[in-house]
């Protein structure tokens, strides 16, 4: 009987010999009027019951991804002498922000099978179901979105961006750009050995507009008529004000 119970426990807790204990410098990013990007420090430790196993060292991968949305990628071609959008591919899910930080080159710390399973690398994080029949090279469209968003720092690949101490302590810093969308930013930590994920952990960073930003945003959505009238009132008042100032000073 006891033997069965031990066997059951062994099965129920398979190989979680190494686990993540995590800390974030902030689990909330507040977008205020003067918001100009933010750094988030992600740090943690590996908890283990047994001594550090022999073999390849422990590697750490940290990803932060913003809310996903569907986007349309269009490609221009020259027709009748001018550049016109011809082909379009709809990408079902592309995160508005995505950063991958690793403790060594990504290729060395993660094999393709595990990447496919956990959707870790940037191309895997983007989900494109299918391109229309007319488009032969759908991959070029996915590459285009990665290229364009990498250029604006919305997608970041930070190889060697995670520092690991004595295979136990790790930390990285992720820079969130100024052009940030509101929402839950899913933060994942993967521990890998020889390219295989041995443990993963997930938490989230809450990105929210606060104060004036929050108030205006909510108003524009919930009482749009009032918001529109307020915009017009400000415009008229400013126009009249400037005219009055110039008249008073007889400019």
């Amino acid at each position: 009987m006891l033997r069965y119970i031990i066997a059951f426990i062994m099965l129920a807790l398979p190989a979680v010999a190494e686990e993540v204990v995590l800390g974030l410098s902030k689990d909330e990013v507040a977008i205020t009027t003067s918001f100009d990007g933010s750094d988030v420090l992600i740090f943690g430790a590996v908890k283990r019951e047994a001594p550090i196993p022999d073999g390849d060292p422990l590697e750490v991968i940290i990803t932060v991804s913003g809310p996903s949305e569907s986007v349309t990628v269009r490609r221009k071609e020259k027709r009748f002498g001018i550049w016109v959008n011809i082909d379009a591919v709809e990408i079902d899910e592309a995160p508005s922000f995505y950063a991958v930080a690793t403790s060594a080159p990504l290729r060395d710390v993660l094999n393709d099978v595990e990447d496919l399973r956990y959707k870790i690398s940037v191309p895997r994080a983007i989900r494109s179901v299918g391109a229309p029949m007319a488009v032969q090279d759908a991959a070029a469209f996915t590459q285009a979105i990665i290229r364009i968003r990498t250029k604006s720092d919305a997608y970041q690949l930070l190889e060697n961006g995670v520092s690991v101490d004595a295979q136990t302590l790790f930390q990285t810093s992720i820079q969130l750009p100024a052009a940030l969308t509101e929402g839950e930013y899913k933060t994942r930590i993967f521990l890998t050995r020889s390219g295989k994920v041995i443990s993963d952990y997930e938490t989230s960073i809450d990105v929210r507009k606060i104060g004036l930003e929050r108030w205006l945003f909510t108003m524009s959505r919930e009482s749009s008529l009032l918001y529109g009238l307020m915009s017009l009132a400000i415009a008229i008042a400013a126009g009249w004000g400037a005219s009055a100032i110039f008249r008073v000073f007889r400019l």
């Binding site: 918001f35 990628v73 550049w83 364009i148 969308t181 205006l216 749009s224 008529l225 918001y227």
Partner: protein, 303 residues
């Protein structure tokens, strides 16, 4: 100083926006154009999403036009009667324009059509105005007085009305048609339409240049206010923080521009407007003809 825009969801430099608003405001006061055809492409360029740029720009035009029109009221250079007739046409046109715009959107390619519209209209209007005002300047420097308004077919139409400020006694049909056409184009191109209306008033209706500017501004206020409300309630794309930054610069610019405009000769004013229109046209044509730096572009949302 960086400021985060709540609707556009990007962070931009506040002084840059104040400066842009000021420059466009000066041009607006000088020429009686809303300045949308200059400001909207500039906003795209600094990274404001197109939908937000177009909607917010409409709100800013309300402010600078209002500021400008007050200065013109003081100088009695607004033909209210003509403005009202044009406005009636303009609102009808704007409503029609929205229908046309949605139809084009369903067909795709709306971006291209808007750009082609810009190139064609700016090119034709700018070119004609440039040639005409160059001739006018040449004539005045030779000493011959420019002849004002000969009789043409427009004077044969019914429903005549007296427009005292403009010194005209013409049928209301041409101004209404001009209003409708400008309204349609304004809705499609996302601008106030001043750059089309000003030449139309000068060349088609034969109004004196001094009156044209104030009257055009008067009409633009109402058309853009209508557009702002439409965008705010249906697309939620009016960014009030962006609008405030632009219009603070814009209203002061408009006051300065009006004063510069009054001191200038009509031909000079027209030739400057022509040059400006042609420059924007050239830039847009260049973008269509030359291979873009990235042939791929991303648009939010699926089909």
């Amino acid at each position: 100083m960086q400021i985060y825009l709540p609707i556009a969801e990007i962070s931009v430099n506040a002084f840059l926006l104040l400066g842009l608003g000021g420059i466009v405001g000066i041009l607006s006061g000088m020429f009686g154009v809303g300045g949308g055809f200059l400001m909207t492409p500039l906003l795209f360029f600094i990274g404001i999403p197109p939908a937000v740029a177009v909607a917010t720009e409409a709100n800013q035009i309300v402010a600078s036009s209002f500021s400008g029109v007050l200065a013109h009221f003081k100088r009695k250079t607004v033909d209210l009667r003509m403005g009202t007739v044009l406005l009636i046409g303009g609102l009808v046109g704007a409503a029609l324009g929205v229908v046309v715009f949605n139809y084009l959107k369903a067909q795709g390619q709306v971006d291209l059509l808007v750009k082609l519209c810009y190139v064609i209209f700016l090119g034709v209007i700018g070119g004609l105005m440039f040639i005409e005002s160059l001739n006018a300047i040449r004539k005045t420097s030779k000493g011959t007085v420019p002849k004002r308004k000969k009789h043409n077919w427009i004077h044969g139409l019914p429903f005549k009305m007296r427009f005292r400020v403009s010194g005209l006694y013409i049928s209301v049909i041409p101004p209404i048609i001009v209003g409708v056409l400008v309204g349609i184009l304004a809705a499609i191109m996302g601008v106030g339409g001043g750059f089309i209306m000003v030449p139309a008033m000068i060349y088609l209706l034969g109004m004196p240049t001094k009156v044209v500017v104030g009257t055009s501004l008067f009409q633009i206020i109402f058309v853009t206010a209508f557009t702002t409300m439409l965008h705010a309630t249906t697309n939620f794309t009016v960014d009030i923080v962006l609008a405030v930054l632009l219009l603070v610069g814009g209203v002061f610019g408009a006051q300065i521009g009006t004063r510069i405009g009054v001191k200038m000769k009509a031909e000079q004013l027209r030739i400057l407007l022509a040059i400006m229109v042609l420059t924007v046209c050239g830039k847009l044509a260049f973008d269509l003809l030359v291979m873009p730096s990235d042939i791929f572009s991303i648009a939010a949302g699926g089909h």
